[in-house]
Every structure is written in structure tokens, then in C-alpha cells.
């Protein structure tokens, strides 16, 4: 008996050490190719310039009766994020069930589902945006579609994993009541995964707000374009203003989503 314990222990050691060595090799490879960190002599000057800009934000940009101001672009960003997240949170559900190992009889079915989700995720937002621009032209709608499609990949993955982690005892109870598949899903599984669904969706929403800033690059609307121009033009006071806007908005969103999460979980 002691013999088997010793064997198990040795096996464990071997396993652990192989993993450690593999990881170590990867890290040595990763770090060996990197240039040394060094601070630039001009860093101080630059940081000063940046911070003085951030500290003295360009309040004129906050509101402009013409409408090309912080408020409007932020609002547009919000629209894009809301609708993009909404689309993806609905479309991702079938993908999530498809990709969850415990929802499919055969492992390869869920593997295919996982692959499809990866493929969706891998498609860069910018190229998606380009595709949708070819369909609907530049503007927020293209941004919404790009974001909505892209987010399916992430939400589907996270949802799928929370389905995999689920406790199945209550679905057994439903089964024993003679419920069919859909009823089991609705009464036993949905209430269980709902909190993580909501939580991930809200999380994705926050990310989308940030991603929507990037979509500005391709004219898909939002705060992205103004931010990039301000950065490229080294107008730090405007960058500061935009940053304040984003922080305030995300903080409010965060507060609201925390409240919702508390209600639901």
C-alpha cells in the first residue's frame, strides 16, 4: 500500500516538474528576445507635457452647439456599445450551448462550436468594420454590427464555460417531472446561468465602450476618431478632456452594472 502511495507521489512530482520545465523554457524564450527596458532622457519633459495637458483639460471641447463635442461622441459611443452588446448577447446564446461540452452528446460537436467561436473572435474588429462598411457605409451602424458580431466570440466562450461549470442537480429534478428539453433549460438551467450571463454581458459592455473608441478609426463613429486625432496632434489638453469623459462614463456604467449584478446574483 505504501508502495502505491510512493508511486503516486513520484508520478505527481514528474508531472509537476515537466510542466515547470516547459513553462520555464517558454519564458526564457519570451524574455530572451526582448530589448532591455530603459527610460528615455526626454521622458521627464514628455511626461510633464502630457500631465499638464491632462490636468488642464480642454473644457471647450466638452460641449459645442455645433454638436461635434465630447458629449455627443460619447453618447454615440454608448449607443454603439449598447446595441453591439445587445446583438451579441442574444446571438451568442446558441453558440454558447453549442460550445459547451456538457450540452452535447459528442465531444466533437462542442469542439466544432469552440472552433467557430475562436474563428469569430479572431476576425479583427477593424476588418469586420470594413466588411460592414461595404454593406452599410461608414457610420455608427457599421460599428454596431462589427462590434456585435465580434463580441459573439467572447461572450459565447465565457457563457459556454459557465454552462460547463454548472450544477446539474436541479435539471435532474426537472427531468424527473417530465419536462422536455426546452422546459428543463428554462426552469433549471437559465436561472442558474443567468447571473454569470448578466455579469459577463455587462463586462463585455464595458469592453465594448472601449472598443467603440477604436472603431472610430474606420469612421464607424464614436469617440475613437477624436481621441486619435488628439493623440496624433499631441493635443494633450483635449486628450485629458476625452479621458475624463471616458472615465466618468465607464464609472457610471460600472456603478449601474454593479447594482444590476447585485440584484440578480
Amino acid at each position: 500500500m505504501n508502495e502505491t502511495i510512493r508511486k503516486k507521489r513520484i508520478m505527481r512530482r514528474i508531472k509537476i516538474w515537466t510542466s515547470v520545465i516547459i513553462i520555464a523554457v517558454i519564458y526564457i524564450w519570451a524574455f530572451s528576445g526582448m530589448p532591455a527596458m530603459e527610460f528615455k532622457p526626454s521622458a521627464v519633459q514628455a511626461i510633464k507635457a502630457i500631465f499638464s495637458g491632462l490636468i488642464h483639460p480642454d473644457w471647450d471641447y466638452f460641449y459645442d452647439p455645433e454638436g461635434e463635442d465630447l458629449l455627443r461622441t460619447l453618447l454615440e459611443t454608448l449607443y454603439i456599445a449598447v446595441l453591439g452588446t445587445f446583438i451579441s448577447s442574444i446571438l451568442c446564446v446558441p453558440f454558447a450551448f453549442w460550445a459547451a461540452r456538457n450540452m452535447n452528446k459528442y465531444q466533437f460537436v462542442s469542439s466544432i462550436g469552440k472552433f467557430v467561436l475562436s474563428a469569430i473572435r479572431v476576425f479583427p474588429e477593424l476588418i469586420l468594420a470594413l466588411l460592414f462598411i461595404a454593406a452599410v457605409g461608414t457610420g455608427p451602424f457599421a460599428g454596431i454590427l462589427a462590434l456585435g458580431f465580434h463580441s459573439i466570440g467572447m461572450l459565447g466562450k465565457l457563457f459556454g464555460e459557465s454552462i460547463e461549470d454548472m450544477d446539474f442537480s436541479s435539471s435532474e429534478a426537472l427531468k424527473s417531472c417530465g419536462a422536455n428539453k426546452i422546459q428543463t433549460l428554462w426552469f433549471a438551467i437559465v436561472p442558474q446561468v443567468m447571473p454569470s450571463f448578466v455579469s459577463f454581458t455587462l463586462y463585455r459592455f464595458e469592453l465594448s465602450v472601449r472598443a467603440a473608441t477604436i472603431l472610430g478609426i474606420v469612421g464607424a463613429g464614436g469617440i475613437g476618431a477624436p481621441l486619435i486625432f488628439a493623440l496624433q496632434g499631441h493635443k494633450w489638453d483635449r486628450v485629458g478632456m476625452i479621458l475624463i469623459g471616458i472615465i466618468v462614463m465607464v464609472t457610471i456604467i460600472d456603478y449601474i452594472s454593479a447594482t444590476i449584478r447585485k440584484r440578480i446574483v
Partner: protein, 256 residues
């Protein structure tokens, strides 16, 4: 009437859960199944409503083979069998009422149940079931706000609301205090008597088995080693079900 015909169940990892079981349970009986941990009690119970698929043999309920039932017929069969689980298996985040109502889903169309459009009578049935287990005022509490004993009673209410013809209860009183235990067992017994519902209960406790059962079935290593009335179930019988008065080391090393 429930009839097992040469039923065997082998788990994917090779464990023999049931080994050639033959047994007939008549309408209205109150059967208590006893046996060691890992003997196969749960497997036996769960085979009845096909929460576990059996490997060979056939189980016939009221003349119809549930083993061969497919699709709607299977759902119909299951609807007529209520189950009470050891760990309640409630949807913790839903309200008590919703949990009880979920016992009614087998009676209605999918779309109707999903939209929550249960007919008035169903709500009355559910509330009555809750009343019967003395939990009416908790109907709109979330299930996870209840104490263990209360949760167990919700799961009984769910089985009641189902208006089943058979109730299966897998260790319904584990982790309940003696008084709650008594109450749950009394409930089951009373319902059994009043409605003539066939009741099959897994129990760990010899005294409870003696007190409530009309028939006792002993299981060991997937086989039925005793089947008889309470009077026949002497102390000797029990120690044979549980194996000889075992030395601890032996028994727990080998089992589970």
C-alpha cells in the same frame, strides 16, 4: 405497479450498479430501500424514472415499458413519477413557488410554461402543495433563503404538485433534525395513505424503515438481498443487509 425484469446497470467505469434485479412493487405500497452506502439504492431508484439508463433488462410501469418509451411517451411517464432528492435539487435562485410550479410543466405546452402562463388552477395546486408541507407563506421567498428542512419540504411540495402516481424519495431526511425528520416521514406516509400514491424511499435508518414501511427491500452490491414485510425484517436481516457486524477497517476500505 412497477416491475423490474432482469435489470442490470453497469456504469461506464465498470462499476456494477445493479445486478440482475427482479422485483415487483404494487400500487399504494410504501417501500423502504435500505443498504450500505454504495450498495446501489440510488441507482435502483433513479432507474425507475430513467434518470439513469439501465444496461439490460426492462422496467415496466403500469403495464407500459418505460425502458422502451421514447419522446413524448417518456416525458408522460416521468410526469407521473415524482422525485424527492437527498440534496433537494431546487433551483436556488428561483422562488419557492416557481420551484413548485416547475413540477407542473409536464402538463402544459412548452411555450406556455416558458412564458410563465400557468393556469390559475395550477397556481392553486402549487399553493395547496405548499400548504400541505406548511410553507405557504414562503411561496415568494427565494429557495436559498430557506433552512435545509424547509428546502426539503419544498421539494416534497414539488413532487405533490406534480400529482404523480409514484413518489421516489432518495434519502429525504438526511441532515434533518429528528422532529423535522418525523414530520417529513409523516407527510410522506400520510400522502401515501390519503392518495394511495406508491411511495419508494431510500433510508439509512433502520428504526425509521421499521416505523414507516409496509415493505422493506435490502440492497447489497447491486443485488436485492432481502424483500419482505416489516415483521420479517428482524435485526438479523438488517445485519445481513449491512453485511456481518463488520470491523470498521475492512468495510470502509472496501466500499465506496
Amino acid at each position: 405497479m412497477i416491475e423490474f425484469k432482469d435489470v442490470s446497470k453497469v456504469y461506464p467505469n465498470g462499476t456494477k450498479g445493479l445486478n440482475n434485479v427482479n422485483i415487483k412493487i404494487n400500487k399504494g405500497e410504501f417501500v423502504v430501500i435500505v443498504g450500505l452506502s454504495g450498495a446501489g439504492k440510488s441507482t435502483l431508484l433513479r432507474s425507475i424514472n430513467r434518470l439513469h439508463e439501465i444496461t439490460s433488462g426492462e422496467i415496466i410501469i403500469d403495464g407500459k415499458s418505460i425502458t422502451k418509451a421514447r419522446g413524448k411517451a417518456l416525458l408522460r411517464c416521468r410526469r407521473d413519477i415524482g422525485m424527492i432528492f437527498q440534496n433537494f435539487n431546487l433551483v436556488k435562485r428561483s422562488t419557492v413557488l416557481r420551484n413548485v410550479l416547475s413540477g407542473r410543466v409536464g402538463y402544459h405546452s412548452t411555450i406556455r410554461t416558458i412564458l410563465g402562463l400557468f393556469p390559475k388552477e395550477d397556481i392553486t395546486i402549487a399553493l395547496n402543495a405548499l400548504k400541505r408541507v406548511n410553507l405557504e407563506e414562503k411561496a415568494y421567498s427565494r429557495a436559498d433563503e430557506l433552512s435545509g428542512g424547509q428546502q426539503q419540504r419544498v421539494s416534497i411540495a414539488r413532487a405533490l404538485a406534480q400529482e404523480a402516481k409514484i413518489i421516489l424519495a432518495d434519502e429525504p431526511v438526511a441532515s434533518l433534525d429528528p422532529l423535522t425528520t418525523k414530520q417529513v416521514m409523516d407527510d410522506l406516509k400520510r400522502i401515501n395513505k390519503e392518495t394511495g400514491i406508491t411511495t419508494i424511499v431510500n433510508l439509512h435508518f433502520v428504526d425509521l424503515a421499521r416505523q414507516y414501511a409496509t415493505r422493506i427491500v435490502g440492497v447489497r452490491a447491486g443485488e436485492i438481498v432481502f424483500d419482505g414485510s416489516v415483521e420479517d425484517a428482524t435485526d438479523d436481516v438488517f445485519s445481513s443487509i449491512y453485511g456481518r457486524p463488520v470491523k470498521q477497517d475492512e468495510m470502509l476500505g472496501a466500499k465506496v
